[in-house]
Every structure is written in C-alpha cells, then in structure tokens.
C-alpha cells in the first residue's frame, strides 16, 4: 500500500500522506544538531551547528580538523552548548510506583522511584547524523579530564567525557523503535509522507523536503532533482548534503585551499573556513526546522505519550548512573546486556507497529489490507454463556466486513475500548450473507488478497474478555447492532520473551560471567601489546584509546 502511495506521489508530483497523525513526539524546544565531518577521518569533526533557537544557531568550527587541540576546543564548546540542554530536565521529577523484589525477603514490594517529568530531545538531519552522534559519544566517553587523571597525556577539557556518555545514551536509545530522544529528520519525514522516489533517495533531506513541500512553480520531482544535483556556476551544490559528509567538490575546491591558508597562518583564514563551513551547515539547519514545521501540522498520535514515558525512564536511569559515579558505558556490551537490548528492541518494534495502527486509520488500513485486521458493521448480537461452573457471558457478535482477514479456527482477535481497555474475542465461523449458516472454513479464508469484488463477508466472533467480572456484561462492553468495529489479529501490548539471567549468572555458552574490571589507575599499554594477545587480556573499560606520537587525530 505504501508502494501505491509512492506511485500516487509520483503521478501527482507531490508527496502523499502515509500517516494521519504524528507517530513520534516533537518536543517544544528540541535541540537541533547538524554535524559535519572530515572525509576519510573517523571522529574528526569539521564543524557543527547546534541550538534550540531557529534564528540563532551556535556555529562551531574546527579550522584544521587534524589538530588535536583545535578538536578538543571544539568538543569543549560543543559540551557547553549541548550539555546544559541534555541536563536541563534532570531535576524536575515526579514519583512513580514500581514493584521491586526485596533482596532479603524475596517479597515483591511497592517502592516509590523518581521519574523525570521530561526528557530533552535531539534532532539530527539524517540517519548518518544519528550514527555520528553515537560515534562522537564513543570518541569522548573514555577520555579523561586533567582533574580525573592528572598524569595522562592529552587531558580532555571538562564536560567532554560527560557529554560523551550522554551522546552514547542518545545514540543507543535511537535504536529502540518508537523512541523520541534522538530523531533523524529524514526518517521522521519519510515515516509520515510517501514521495515519488525510492526509499534510497529519500535519505537526501533536501530532496525529501522538495517532494513534501516543493517551492512555488515546481513539481516535487523537479525540485528534488534540483536539490540533488543542482550546482551553481562555481560547481558547488545548491543544496549541500545535510552531513555529516561534505560534498567532494566543496572539499577540493573551497575547503582544502582555505585550510591550507589557515595552516600558513594567513590573516583572516580562520574566518574564511568558518564562513565556508557555515555555508554548508546553514541549509541543512534550515531544512531541519522546516521539517519540524511540517511535522507540527500533524496532531500527535494518542499513544505517543505512553512511548515517551519509556524514554523518560531511560533518561532517568542514565541520570542515576551518572550521579552514582558509575563508569561510562562499556565498549562492548556483555552477553546478557546485549540479549536484553535485542529483546527490548523486538518488543518495542511489535508494540510500535500495534500502536501506530491503533492511533492512525491509515496505518490500520495497511494492516487491514495485509489481512491482519478487519473493520465492519455489527449485524447481529446473540447472547450466550460459557458452560462452566460459573457461567460467564460469551456473546456472539456477527459483523459484515469487506476486508479479507486471515481468520481460521480459534484465531484470537482484539479491539480497543474506551479509556485504554481492550477486548478479545475468538473467531467462530464465516457466514455467507443471506443464508445464515456458513462453514468455519470459508472458501476465502486462505486467500489473502481476496476476490475483491466488494461483496461483504459475515464473520461471527465470540467475545471472551473485556466485559467486567459480573454475570451480566458491564454496560457498553458488548457492541450493538449497527456499530462499526475494528478488530486486529495482532495483540495490542505484545509480551516479551522469558526473563534473562543476571549478568553474574551468564551461562558458559555465552562466555560466562564477565571478568572483574581491572582496578583503575593501571597504565594503558594497549598501544604496545601485540593485537594477537589483546583478546585474552582482561577488559579495561574506562581507558582512553591509545594515542601515538604520529597520530593525526
């Protein structure tokens, strides 16, 4: 169905909606961060534009990306801009109740825990930008400041290791489906609009925006082409890429000569590099804000707040770890943590898919098309009871639907009631219109695409839950004739898998319990040991990377 939307967009020359509500949270004051990096060098930032005010971005530039001191100065200033934002929501808390197992008695007890009311948001232009946030976090979180390690060479400016830990949290959290802490604009926009180009081409922010909101007098396709390849008379792109990589033509013709002039200590050279970098950053900065404007026109999905609460938990937990003086996140997760992360992402993916469908009729339409949901009008309700010691209401509801759900004997279906309640039912039989008693194995059951002639199918379901505990169903929980209902074949709150063992109980199949971390203060001979011996050496998590004398970075 999204393929159809792409085709409609291609034919119309304008992006078409893929959603009727906004499925991600947009903070009131997000911090927009547009990074640029030096081609071919990992973790050598060239500059960045950051800030929460669209009119007054903070421009940070490294005039010679290979100079370590200049790079540290850049990171220190970046920490000055970004850290206050990331830490801004730390102190405003509310109390939440949580069940915890008492380690001594083994009983479950309810405890009061702090939960931050808000979690600040970071927005980057595209997917590689989000990856770059992760990379920056990795490059900074093991650094030591002069205060922490007075002996170490190349001490990092204060704030840098802390920023590294925060950016690592945000970078990792961005991998959790449905999370809103770190968002990439291209992903956000392509979630909500279908363009007339391929998903691959949608990763160009300029082209994507051109499809969604083309300038006066141009079709989306024309505007996107101009954004992609249009160059001015000097051979520079009209719409520079939104980073973090720069256009090679810009590097070779403009930036490299300017950096050479800076190296030669020519007056004004630094300003020149600054202006050049700004010229590449500003269009992406404006594009991100335009994207935010577009997204704000959509009302927020109903269940976005619930997902955001999980982001707040994640934010609060990180705050607690930093405050209690725990070491930075390890280079590699241990087996249990990694398994837990994977399980969490799978669970969140399933939850996101279910919630997006429930929030948005257009997404639900996709699920209905796929046979994973169906909507229809109630044609008959017949009261029935279960045959047990205690007879419970099990009413039979018959719907007339045009959809072609994949129903078979005993398949469970679900629907949302008011105020977050849910109701389940099981499939009983198909009935053909008019003659009343059909067979459970309807001829169309196996054919997902259906015959599509528009004729309705009658589906009979037996309600099994959501009617209260009484002998008679609670008022309003059993649908009436003429009501329109939408049932899904997927669960609304997917359950996770079995619990994972504690880190200390990692089974030997997964490497056993992790070794004790080496005591702090051990010198770091990593650069000098043979790499062949490295895997057997005990992990030394908080040590900075080796720095050699000829190290360019």
């Amino acid at each position: 169905m999204s393929a159809l939307a792409r085709m409609e967009a291609a034919a119309a020359g304008l992006a078409q909606p893929r959603a009727t509500v906004r499925h991600r949270r947009l903070a009131e004051r997000p911090l927009v961060f547009v990074p640029l990096t030096t081609a071919g060098e990992a973790g050598a930032p060239l500059g960045a534009m950051a800030g929460t005010e669209r009119e007054s971005p903070v421009l940070l530039v490294v005039p010679q990306p290979r100079d370590r001191d200049l790079r540290f100065a850049f990171l220190a200033r970046l920490a000055g801009v970004v850290l206050p934002h990331l830490e801004s929501a730390q102190d405003e808390i509310e109390w939440e109740e949580r069940k915890e197992t008492d380690p001594e008695t083994g009983k479950k007890e309810t405890v009061q825990v702090e939960l931050c009311v808000d979690a600040p948001q970071l927005i980057v232009p595209n997917g590689p930008g989000a990856d770059f946030v992760r990379l920056l976090g990795r490059s900074m979180r093991f650094r030591r400041t002069a205060e922490e390690d007075p002996e170490g060479p190349y001490p990092a400016p204060p704030g840098v290791p802390l920023l590294g830990r925060w950016l690592t949290l945000y970078g990792e959290r961005a991998r959790v489906p449905g999370s809103s802490l770190l968002l990439s604009m291209t992903e956000l926009l392509s979630r909500h609009w279908a363009t007339g180009q391929s998903a691959l081409e949608d990763q160009h922010l300029g082209a994507l925006l051109a499809w969604i909101d083309p300038p006066e007098g141009l079709s989306g396709g024309e505007a996107a082409l101009r954004a992609e390849v249009g160059r001015d008379s000097a051979g520079q792109l009209l719409c520079p890429p939104a980073g973090p990589a720069t256009d090679p033509a810009f590097d070779n013709r403009l930036l490299a000569p300017a950096i050479d002039r800076f190296d030669a200590r020519l007056p004004g050279a630094e300003d020149e590099v600054r202006e050049l970098v700004a010229s590449q950053l500003r269009p992406a900065w404006d594009a991100v804000w335009r994207g935010i404007d577009l997204l704000r026109t959509l009302p927020e999905g109903e269940r976005v707040t619930e997902r955001f609460k999980r982001d707040r938990w994640s934010y609060t937990a990180h705050r607690d770890r930093v405050r209690s003086g725990e070491p930075p996140q390890p280079r590699r997760d241990d087996a249990v943590t990694a398994a837990a992360k994977l399980a969490q992402r799978e669970r969140e993916q399933a939850r996101l898919e279910a919630q997006e469908a429930l929030d948005d009729p257009l997404v639900m339409a996709e699920r209905r098309f796929a046979g994973e949901a169906f909507a229809g009008e109630v044609t008959a309700v017949e009261m029935a009871y279960s045959e047990g010691k205690r007879a419970m209401p099990r009413p039979l509801v018959t719907l007339s639907t045009d959809d072609r759900p994949h129903l078979g004997g005993g398949v469970k279906v679900h629907r949302a009631l008011v105020e977050g309640a849910r109701q389940s039912a099981e499939f009983v039989r198909y009935e053909t219109e008019g003659d009343g008693d059909g067979d459970a194995d309807a001829p169309r059951a196996g054919d997902g695409t259906g015959t599509g002639t528009g004729d309705a199918t009658l589906v009979t379901l037996r309600l099994t839950s959501g009617m209260g505990r009484g002998k008679e169903p609670a008022p309003g929980t059993v649908p009436e004739k003429g009501e329109r209902l939408c049932w899904t074949l997927f669960e609304h709150t997917p359950r996770g898998g079995p619990e994972l063992p504690e880190v200390e109980d990692t089974p030997w199949t997964h490497g056993g319990p992790p070794a004790e971390p080496a005591p702090a203060g051990v010198p770091a001979p990593r650069g000098t040991t043979a790499p062949g011996a490295a895997p057997t050496a005990p992990p030394q998590p908080p040590l900075p990377d080796p720095v050699t004398s000829e190290d360019l970075l």
Binding site: M1, A3, L4, A5, R6, M7, E8, A10, A11, L14, P17, T20, A39, G40, E41, A42, G43, P65, R138, G196, Q197, S198, A199, L200, E201, I212, D213, G221, E228, T246, P248, D251, A256, L294, T297, L298, R332, D360, P361, L362, M364, A365, E366, R368, F369, T449, G450, T451, G452, G454, G527, P531, D545, P546, V547, T548, E550, D551, L552, L553
Partner: protein, 425 residues
C-alpha cells in the same frame, strides 16, 4: 573460456569502434566496477559500456546528467597515508597482522620476499605477477635476493604489492590491481584489502565491509583463473585503522559466499558479442559526439535501472531520468517493483487501482505492453513476464490494487474529518 584468436580480435576491434575509434584509450575495468556489475547482471548497458572501456563519467556529462561522484582530497590523503603505513618496513606489519589472524608463526624480518612486479603495460605486469605467485616453483628468479637458500626449496613468505591480475569478463579482459597478495609458505594465497574506514571496538560499517569483501572476492576469482596452480585462502585479510587512531588492525573475512555469488553473476552476463551484434552498425559512444546522437546510442542498449545504481554507476542519473520519464515502477525501488506482479508503469498501476469495473484493465494492458518494449524488461527474474496483457479485472494484482486504493481512500477520508492531513498547499 577460450576464443579463437580471430573472434577475440574482431571483438576487440568492434569494442574500439564503439568507444570512438582505436585512438580512444579504454578505461580499465576495476574490481569495484566488476562488483557493481555483478550486483546488477541484467544491465546490458553497463556490461557493454564497461566492457568496451567507455569513459562513462564523460559520457554522462555529455548526456547532461553528470554523476556526482568524486573523492575528497582529505579522504584520498588519509587513505594513502594509511596504506603507506601498513606497507612500511617491507610489509612487516602486514605479515604480522596476517599471522595474528591466521595463527601462523610470523617469519623473521627480511625473510619475506618482495618481488619486483613493475613491467611495461598491464599484460607484462600480469606475467610478472604470475611468476611471483609461485615463488618456489618459479625458481629464485622472482624471489630476488631475499628468500634464498633453504627456505626457497619449500617455499617462503612473499608479499606482492599492487600485483596485476587478468580476468575474462563477458568476453573481454579486465586487469585488476589488488592492494596486496600474500604468498604463504605452503603456497596458498591470501588477498589483502587495505581500507581507511575505522574498525571501532571490533566492528565496522557493515556496508563498507561488504563492499570490501565483494572486491576481495573479485580478486580471489581472478587469482583462481590466473592459470597458476595454487589455492586461494577462504579468508581475505581486511586491514583498517583501529578505533580513532591510525594504527592498523586486521580481521579475516570469509569471502566464500561473495566469491560464489560473483562467479555466478559474472557467468550470467550476456556475452558482449551478442550485445554488440544487436546494435546498429554506426553506434558510437564517444563523449565528443553531439548529445542527441549519444542519447539514441545509449538508448539502443537496454538498461536495468534500480535506485541502487545511483551509488555505483556513473550513468545512473541518466537512466533514472529515462525510467522516470517512462513512468517505470523500478524508479521507486526494487521492492516496489516486486510487489506489483506484472505491472511495469506507474500509469498502469494507478489506472488499475482507480478504475474498478471499467475499461481500466485494457488501458493498463496496453500501456504496460508498450513499456515492455521500451526496455523495462531487461531485468532478471520477475521481469521476464512483463508484457502483462491480462491486467483485466480478474487479475489478482489488479484486484489487490483496487482494494488497497479503496482502503487508503477510506482511511484518508476518515482522517480528514477530524484533522488536517496534508500540511501545505
């Protein structure tokens, strides 16, 4: 694959004509291009232009759709300095990394032969490489002065920096230049790829590693077909900077799968003779010719465009313009194409989706039939049945489309009543 000398030279002459005459030097086919070609074996246009050694970048420029490829000098400088560092000290570092990866005992410094491979022209260099690949059998000539005496009899270590290998691709010879090949004492070879993307905490960008593995697979294939008896190891050595430093680290990457895939894809390539024979006699791809002539020349060879081409082929922007102008569904992505059964044009899809129970089916059939002639069907697999004459109302794909359109319209209608759906304009 053997050819009589006559047909070989006839083909070579024909390819030179296509290029614009014997004076236009052919562009050598590198492993990157071969790997990309193997990723889209249905594209005759690419096979022919690459095989003939046409300068596609210049051609694209002349067609008015230049490719935005280029390398930043920063990346170039970084790549070169890293490669120089890895190869320093007669490759001692490289051998050390290789042995650490395979578990072999590293040789003493100075025991590694570094044969001189320089020669005039690619065929000369290929011959020198062939000699050097079998140091123990080729006698002491190749192992110039370093690995003499006792070790030479049983074979010793040798490192070949920038050797040259020949590979027959669709009837023409491609010369390939790997970064390095190591000859083990047991006579087997390891392909080494030196890349400047970092390995961070033991993991690297999967796309880049994949590209490096495909490239190494092409070299391994060329080694196997070099005619020298010997075995190519299943693991290629990928050398990258470690973390944020410029210290090299190396990992063995298994290239069996890539090698098998590349071999199969290259074997599937249509023979260049066939493609060339189907062209009008006067077709020339000389970028100096006027644009309209070039456009019709390029159009005479069918292409199989997919958005993935944009990152690997210089002509991709031209092909994309054509695909979009024809309304081909391929321009929206391979997966979109796969979902649509027999439909090949956007118009056909939309009219099938939008006009239930009317004559839409006939129109769709006619249009998609037309498009099939325009070259959309050169692709592999599902593309074979593109005519799609039966896009009538009974066709399952058309029925599914109508259902999708109806559900979509219904949902959008429901959404519009309580919210604004389309933001601007």
């Amino acid at each position: 694959m053997t050819h009589s000398d006559g047909s070989q030279s006839a083909l070579r002459r024909r390819l030179a004509e296509l290029r614009g005459g014997p004076d236009v030097p052919p562009r050598p086919l590198d492993a990157r291009a071969l790997a990309a070609l193997a990723a889209n074996p249905g594209c005759r246009r690419r096979a022919l232009l690459d095989g003939a050694g046409v300068d596609k970048a210049a051609l694209a420029e002349a067609l008015g759709a230049p490719a935005p490829f280029g390398q930043s000098q920063f990346a170039f400088a970084r790549g070169n300095s890293f490669e120089a560092k890895v190869k320093a000290d007669g490759g001692a570092e490289l051998i050390r990394l290789l042995c650490a990866s395979t578990g072999e005992t590293p040789p003493e410094p100075g025991e590694v032969a570094l044969p001189d491979l320089s020669a005039d022209g690619p065929s000369g260099r290929t011959a020198r490489t062939r000699l050097a690949l079998a140091p123990s059998r080729a006698g002491d000539e190749a192992a110039a002065g370093t690995a003499e005496g006792g070790t030479a009899a049983e074979g010793g270590w040798a490192l070949l920096f920038h050797p040259m290998l020949a590979l027959d691709v669709a009837g023409s010879t491609a010369y390939l230049e790997p970064d390095a090949i190591a000859v083990h004492p047991d006579g087997s070879w390891t392909v080494a790829e030196i890349k400047s993307f970092p390995v961070l905490d033991g993991s690297a960008d999967a796309a880049k590693v994949g590209a490096a593995a495909r490239q190494a697979a092409v070299y391994a294939l060329a080694l196997e077909e070099s005619g020298v008896t010997g075995e190519v190891r299943e693991q290629a050595l990928l050398v990258c900077p470690k973390d944020f430093s410029n210290l090299p680290t190396a990992h063995g990457i298994d290239i069996r799968k890539q090698r098998a895939a590349t071999r199969r894809q290259l074997a599937r390539l249509t023979r260049l003779e066939e493609i060339a024979a189907a062209l009008p006699r006067e077709t020339v791809f000389d970028p100096a010719r006027p644009a309209p002539e070039l456009i019709s020349a390029v159009e005479s060879v069918p292409a199989a465009y997919a958005p993935e081409c944009l990152s690997t082929c210089e002509l991709a922007f031209h092909c994309r313009d054509r695909a979009r102008a024809a309304g081909a569904v391929e321009s929206l992505g391979r997966s979109v194409r796969g979902e649509l059964g027999g439909f090949t044009t956007i118009d056909a899809v939309l009219s099938a989706a939008g006009a239930p129970h009317t004559g839409g089916g006939d129109a769709a059939g006619a249009e998609s039939g037309q498009d099939a002639g325009a070259g959309g069907n050169a692709g592999a697999g599902p593309g074979a049945d593109t005519g799609h004459a039966g896009a009538g109302s009974g066709d399952p794909a058309a029925v599914a489309l109508r259902r999708a359109a109806r559900l979509r319209a219904e949902a959008l209608g429901a959404g519009r009543t309580d919210s604004r759906v389309t933001p601007c304009r």
